[in-house]
Subunit: 194 residues, 2 copies
């Protein structure tokens, strides 16, 4: 199954180049003040090609999120059965944090998302989908029955809230704090708060 890869390589290269140009312009000019044709020109491709690689302007920032959601779900599902729902989710989040290509790029993109309302919307929407996709696995881990559906929703929502809180703190600290510790701290608060 060895692929010819001349096309594949150039595709990969073009994609990379477009992405870099986009991030460069976004960080210097801001997301809203950067047009897609500008990015295309900077990357040396036509606007049409840009939209073939990234279906949406938002995808230039949030596009990789889809793959991350998939990674999260499979990680949670592949935890051994004796692992609790809480622990399974924690494991999934940790894999995400370490799987992120470069912490530096992650920090840059996170700042961009936090600073741009329209990006926040698409980011939150993608995360909502993650939560939906996690429902079956978490429900099964809680005991299975459809009565556990509500409980599963809550467990997932709380876990994500902890990710949010710790991520926000992490970004605010410019990436100096330890995300894992922050998450555990948030979970501790959540499970004792009542």
């Amino acid at each position: 199954m060895k692929q010819a890869t001349v096309w594949d390589r150039s595709r990969q290269l073009a994609r990379q180049e477009i992405l870099e140009a986009a991030v460069r312009l976004f960080t210097t000019q801001g997301y809203d003040r950067t047009t897609t044709s500008e990015i295309a020109a900077e990357a040396g491709v036509s606007q049409r090609t840009l939209f073939r690689y990234f279906g949406t302007k938002e995808d230039l920032v949030c596009g990789d999120q889809d793959a991350l959601g998939e990674l999260l779900r499979t990680t949670v599902e592949s935890q051994p059965p004796e692992v609790s729902a809480w622990a399974a989710l924690r494991a999934g989040f940790l894999v995400l944090a370490t799987a992120n290509h470069s912490l530096d790029l992650t920090l840059t993109l996170s700042k961009l998302i936090f600073a741009t309302p329209s990006l926040q919307a698409s980011y939150v929407q993608k995360r909502l989908r993650w939560q939906q996709d996690l429902l079956p696995a978490v429900r099964d881990r809680l005991g299975g029955g459809s009565e556990r559906e509500l409980e599963a929703r809550i467990v997932i929502a709380v876990s994500f809230a902890c990710v949010d809180a710790s991520t926000a703190t992490w970004v605010a600290s410019d990436g100096t704090e330890d995300i894992e510790a922050l998450y555990d701290q948030a979970i501790t608060v959540a499970r004792s708060a009542k």
Copy 2:
């Protein structure tokens, strides 16, 4: 301070007419397959006027949410001091449920939002803002210190998750079930799940 109200009345009327036309077209054709100029024509105004009343196409569906968020916040803040954070939030949500103009319209719009991804995004985003606005009040009710900020975030997130779950169930039941009971059920699950 009696207002002249000839303008006000015609403004109110135009707004109402645009809104009704929009809902009519959205429910019959779907949100994405309805253009703003179509709505304007149906309402008998120019497209420009439509955008003066509703800054965004999404606002035609989610526009009133802003006022609701304000109502939620003031309700929570005005609860007596001895009321717990959980109870204060519950009180706020109840006011929202009953304050909704018409349950019928609410049900229609909710279905529209649930069925349209782009609407979900703006809906969720607005609700995120509500959560932020609620932070100070809830934190104070939990004891005040900045250490309570994380806890406040969690309490709010869990409460909203319960609203989500109960609303989803309510919409799925076509509005026949009692939202208040559903919410209490969700909260019970949330506070015992751990």
